[in-house]
Amino acid sequence: MVLYPWQPTSAVSDQDLRFPTLMKQPQTMLDKVWDDHVVRSAPGEPDLLYVDMHLIHEVTSPQAFESLALSGRRVRRPDLSMATVDHGIPTVGRELGISDPLSRHQIEALEQNCEEHGITLFGVDDLRQGIVHIIGPEQGLTQPGMFIVCGDSHTSTHGAFGALAIGIGTSEVEHVLATQTLPRAKPGSLAVTVDGDLPLGVTAKDVILGIIREIGVNGGHETVIEYRGSTITGLSMAGRMTVCNMSIEAGAVAGMIAPDDTTFAYLEGRPYVPTGGLWEEMVAYWETIPSDADAVFDREVVIDTTGLEPFVSWGVNPAQVVEVTGRVPSPDSFDDPLERDSARRALEYMDLEPGTAMTDIGIDRVFFGSCTNARIEDLRAGAEVIQGRTVHPDVGAMVVPGSGLVKLQAEEEGLDRIYKEAGFEWRDAGCSMCLAMNDDILSPGERCASTSNRNYEGRQGRGGRTHLMSPQMAVAAAIAGHLVDVRAWQ
């Protein structure tokens, strides 16, 4: 029989939440959260882990429900699953219905599947609808110490709460629906320590882009990254989510940040968060989650924020970034032949000449949205840049709030008016032009300043050219009509 860490503790005390023998070995946060979810462990086999929350959206779930039905199986724990529509949903004119028949069919399939299996759905007309990784935290569904999965690679976002959160494919979605578990070999651990105050105009987005440039798009391979250090603990939950969100862009299995008072303050009072005595007990448990002071990581990387500048991407992967004061690099500046080949292909796709000052790059479109940067804090920060200025006449710019509730909150604060008066379009919540599955899409050759996470070829539309950056930088670019160093405006 399996001994769970908590079994000997009949009464929960603040000091002794964990099995005493487990206390001897210093543990990382990953170790602790992992151990607390092991259902079954056998030598030579992956651990079977219990899933606390399974997030579902319309694009990666229909085939899972279909196979489930074909094999005559039921959803084991519909109460631990939550669904929303985000990837394919239009962000304008929703009241007229969804005109794309394929997207409509997918959304209807999700509605039916949720109905049939008793899964809560924040559907098209629900104010709580939004990007799956925005609404989990917003509702207090995402909590420290959880094991969270979703058929989406940016599930890593939820790690900002000290949860272990990983993206899975559709077959594994089916597996989780049927068993509420996931078999996994334990990944390695990578500590990324970021220390120092963030210089003015430098954001969480710049921190994570800097980390990815440093360690590479495969630098987190087969590891869970723990972000730590004074810069990270100094971030709001929104900033921490921006950082963890892009862990997958560093090739990591997941990213995590230790829960602390900032985390607890964010969670307290949210709809799905317990109150009273149970809240106290949970906080006591959550306080045991951070890595032990002497825990050993497989690998450690230290990043200094002194002199950190806003980053913008010049290429077609998120490590191909440079300081906004920098220039488009020459492929010859890369020693590694594969990186050189990547850079050459990237510059061709992006239609950029080596040596061009980044601030000389003109843009056609601005996309302000996505699970990386569409929370209320992002919208506030972007609005502050405007100061009565207007979007450049040659630029089409849109703001797509991360959820219906973010949108409502922004409207209550008058942010929508600031954006609209400046010439931004103000849209309904969804993934929108982050992946361009709906009508929000770049035309071939269009160049876009984007607050999203992927600058892959064609990501925002075939032939479209994406430059990743922070919300402040994207708003400034919309106004200037070209990439610009927002610090000059602050």
């Binding site: 078999p183 992927r454 032939g463």
Partner: protein, 200 residues
């Protein structure tokens, strides 16, 4: 899932680094509700021009590679999005294995779920196979039981998680395996303390 043991066939080289799943299957093909029929959309934007015409120079479109069953890719193949459509389209287009120095974490798992064999090779070995693949006359044999890949005189070995290997060799479905542990899942659920986070 059908068992995988020995894969034999033609290779096709696509040895760029960091080929993401947005390239393998672009977003416009994610709107379906079925796993089938995605093969023609594989690498769509590389294989077709903006008018939808076939790009004859793209390696997968070259007639001499029409029989390819093994893709030889660069490091971090299939990074990015979790879309299993990438694997479904590769399998539907006739691919049975991919050779690469490393894979995107979600794609690697998705491959295992579909009996598509992701073979992780040392950098030098992957490079050698990419060179060999440049000649369409060369075929490759991937021997999963022996954990060996060979083409002509060149042979390399590879590592694979023994549990995953057994599952592939037997064609076992992961849900079936896990459901054998249903008693453990019941025990876990019933012994979970109330301070552990939970919905509902």
């Amino acid at each position: 899932m059908k068992p995988v043991s020995v894969v034999e066939g033609q290779m096709v080289p696509l040895p760029h680094a960091n080929i993401d799943t947005d390239q393998i299957i672009p977003k416009q093909f994610l709107k379906g509700v079925k796993r089938t029929g995605l093969g023609p959309n594989l690498f769509y934007d590389w294989a077709h021009d903006e008018e939808g015409e076939v790009v004859s120079g793209f390696v997968l479109n070259r007639p001499e590679y029409a029989e390819a069953a093994v893709l030889v890719a660069g490091p971090n193949f299939g990074c990015g999005s979790s879309r299993e459509h990438a694997v479904w389209s590769l399998a539907d287009a006739g691919f049975e294995a991919i050779l690469a120095p490393s894979f995107g974490p979600i794609l690697e798992n998705n491959c295992y779920q579909n009996g598509l064999l992701p073979v992780v090779l040392a950098d030098d070995d992957a490079e050698e196979f990419a060179k060999l693949a440049a000649d369409p006359a060369n075929s490759v044999t991937i021997d999963l039981p022996a954990q060996r890949v060979s083409s002509g005189d060149f042979t390399a070995s590879f590592e694979i998680d023994p549990h995953v290997k057994e599952r592939l060799l037997n064609g076992w479905d992961q849900v079936d395996i896990t459901l054998q542990s249903v008693a453990d899942i019941d025990t876990y659920e019933s012994s979970r303390p109330r301070f552990m986070p939970a919905l509902g």
